[in-house]
Amino acid sequence: MDLAERRYRITRADLVRYAGASGDFNPIHWSDRIATGVGLPGVIAHGLFTMALVGRAVTEWVGHPAPIVDYTVRFARPIVVPDTDEGTELVINAVLKSVTEDGNAVLDLTATCEGEKVLAQARATVRQA
């Protein structure tokens, strides 16, 4: 399994699209007024969107659409997404931690944005293609 680093750009448009697809319309993910009103620096990405993008990286590494048996993350720090064309960038890496008795690979995952870790204790157990 080639665990090459993945980089995905995140813009406001991506947050709006994810809100619609997931049904999570919490305004902190699209309204600066509401986000700053609750003490955030600005609009932030859905934690589950970050989890989804890291999950996408795992499927691309494994080369299978649905390889994940068990997947856990802790949302350590919100991703602030500025209202610019560039937005921000999520950087995803993994190391093979172990192989289970039934041959599944356990991947320790890291996701960073602007040099800061946004997930903690992120791990996926995957069936190897």
Binding site: Y8, D14, R17, Y18, G20, A21, S22, G23, D24, V38, G47, L48, F49, M51, A52, L53, G55, R56, V58, T59, H64, P65, A66, P67, I68, V69, D70, Y71, T72, V73, R74, F75, Q121
Partner: protein, 147 residues
């Protein structure tokens, strides 16, 4: 006011059946920028042994979120949505979700604890198919920030 630990073990009635559609999987796939054809093309999914297009791994949160919604709407628990932060999420799949699945969620308050002035609540949501077979289990830990 801290959450009442006696609500540990509280269960919620099953949610209305949710029918997984091809176009909803396509919409979710496009939203996360994934490109695997097995999410989009039934023929490609069939070649991998699935009866219809398969869902990306975290599509399951569309289902498990309906379980969280039941907790947030429970007047007895009295969660203050404006102070709720999503702390942890775990998804354990018995099998992938695919188009055509008709899924129902059953949620339980698994744990309530207080630490450092904040409350931590873990909800477990089990997702079952029409045959009563479990498809996925989600654990969501939410943090209710102290006032």
């Amino acid at each position: 006011m801290p959450l009442d630990p006696s609500y540990e073990g509280r269960t919620y009635p099953p949610t209305e059946p949710y029918r997984v559609g091809r176009e909803k999987i396509r919409e979710f796939t496009e939203a996360i920028g994934a490109e695997d054809q097995a999410y989009l093309d039934p023929e490609a999914a069939l070649k991998l042994g699935y009866p219809d297009v398969v869902a990306p791994p975290t599509f399951a949160v569309l289902l498990t979120n309906s379980g969280i919604r039941q907790l947030l709407d429970d007047p007895d628990l009295g969660l203050d949505f404006s102070r709720v932060v999503h702390g942890d999420q775990r998804l354990q799949h018995d099998r992938p979700i695919h188009a055509g699945d008709v899924l129902t969620c059953r949620s339980t308050v698994e744990q309530i604890m207080s630490r450092g002035g904040h409350d931590f609540l873990t909800a477990r949501t089990e997702v079952f198919d029409e045959d009563g077979e479990r498809v996925v289990t989600g654990w969501s830990k939410i943090v209710v920030r102290g006032e």
